[in-house]
Amino acid sequence: MENILEQIGIDNYIYLSTLLFCVGAFGVLYRRNAIVMFMSIEIMLNAVNLLLVAFSTYHQDAAGQVFVFFSMAVAAAEVAVGLAILVAVYRNIKNIDIDNLKKLKG
């Protein structure tokens, strides 16, 4: 494990996860398709997970990796709920463009 970090360096992990996070954030802001937005959110989440794992190794502390397991499990549940909502929306309006969800405003 130490070898990998020695070979690549912690700073590169930080750059990568920052890049992934920004890709995700822009994806959320730019795209209008709800599923793509979902994917972007997952990218942001995984960027954070990656950073957590990297620092966990760097500090020789397993707690960070355990925390990532929890976060992935919660993310899986959240995706299940989110996708179920999207299916329900699709059944109603036959598309999943978020601009159409303006109708939900009272």
């Binding site: 954030a25 959320v28 802001l29 209008r32 601009d99 969800l101 303006k102 109708k103 939900l104 405003k105």
Partner: protein
Amino acid sequence: MDTNLALLLLLAPLAGFLLNIFIGKKLSGNVSGILGSVAVAVSFAVTLKFFLQVNGGGEPINVNLFKWMTLANFDVNFAFQLDQLSLLWLMFVTGIGTLIHIYSISYMHGDENIHKYFGYLNLFVFFMITLVMGSNLLIMFIGWEGVGLCSYLLIGFWYKNHDFNDAAKKAFIMNRIGDLGFLIGIFIIGYLFHSVDYIDIKNAITSGNLDIDMTWLGIATLCLFIGACGKSAQIPLYTWLPDAMAGPTPVSALIHAATMVTAGIFMITRLNFLFDLTPDVQNIIAIVGAFTSLIAASIGLAQNDIKKVLAYSTVSQLGLMFLALGLGAYHVAVFHVITHAFFKACLFLGSGSVIHAMHGEQDMRYMGGLRKVMGVTFITFLISTLAISGLPPFSGFFSKDEILMTAFHHNKVLWVVGSIASIMTAFYMFRLLYLTFYKDFRGTEEQKKHLHESPSLITFPLIVLAILALVGGAISLPGHSWLNEYLSPILTNHIEHHELGTTAYMLMGIAIIGALIGIGIAYFKYIKQGFVPGKDEEITGFSKVLYNKFYVDEIYTAIIVKPIYALGAFFKNVTEVAFSGFIFGLGRLANALSTQGKVIQNGSIGFYLLVFVLGICSIIAYIFLK
């Protein structure tokens, strides 16, 4: 035993009220009338039993039901007291009440709300009994307010007529003004004596070591007198009583002639020991009474409505009673209350009989000649008219003569005022009699065909009351007075005894001559000359002022009602506009702000997310770059 009987006396009319109000609609009119009459007759029977017991030397009956409330430093008991004075009052309240209930069965026959009528009448009797029986001022106040309520309900009994409703409201509001005075008086007395119980106050005064502020006591008795002014229709609060004639005639007879309007006199007599301590207030009472008597009598000279004449006559007679009260002659005032109750109830019921025959016509200009068809009504009316005019041996002569004699011994001016009022009384009562019963009938042919003597349920009470009006004076004959002895335990001051000397006979002579002059003028004008008052617009000169009641209502409207309306308009147009402008301004400001805020919540998820990200970015920027 006595407790139960006293409760029966009190609660029988209440039971009558409840039955008539809740199941009366299912009963026929006669049944509900009989129910009401029996309820009051039961009270009368019990009263008679107690009256004979106390008159025969028995102790007054005190009934203490429970402790009602505990105020700062004194207790108020829910207690009743049947002593000489309250039993005397109950005798004629329930006695005349019974007669008038019987009369009403026939008079109100066929009215769609007859059960309500008898319900209200029973409720009135209940409250009147409460007023009279109570052993302290607060219980009297319950009755005082209750009779005011019943008066309101019964004046406005024919509620479909808007004028009648206005008359009812006027009576209620005028009474409220007086009631406020009464209430303030009670408060001051409670403060001064630490009790509102008659016996406690009397003991505090007679014990000798009385340590209270006489100024405050004077204010208290003045406030009580204002209360009496409202209830007993004295200047300046008398204008409601003539308007109260809007109610059914038996109501006028019971409430607005015989019983309720004497409540003020009852109250002052009940508290005679207080009023005796404040001679200044007594002077005010005497002067107000004398001038009320004169002014009401002069207005009565020019009225054409048969009930209005009787109403002003009532105000005038009440004024005489207040004159007697102010002079400290409580027993004389009580005497006149009783004889007045007899002959005035008879006069009102007689006028009701006439109105019944005339199918609701009350204007004397369209009557006349009724003597021939309504024999019994005429005879009873004549007896009562002679009684109120003050001719011997009718009851009114004795009581009125005693008042005038007392006035003569105290204050000659008041005697002159009272005597003039008496002459006027004789004149307008005979004017009423002549216009109604003599000469030829002046109504329509249609009415003439229907003229009839009233049925026996109406004539029976008339006959009883006429007999009482004839012989009622016997309870207090000059020289030997049963009434004065009977009342002596109630009155703390020694009763003045006027010797039957030359002065007394001279005064009697003057009174009789005065009455005969009044009658003579009326005879000359309405029989010899056959004068009939003209149409409203033909009345001119001073009689127009009298006909319009000295424009008192108009003056009250100008100096009280109009300014209050103006004040109300000021509050509505200026104050309310200013305040509501401010409050509504705040509301509009909040509304405008929220309208702006509403724009942000536009429902676009993309926009929300953008704001969300920008927010996070700015928080991070703030934390790391500050």
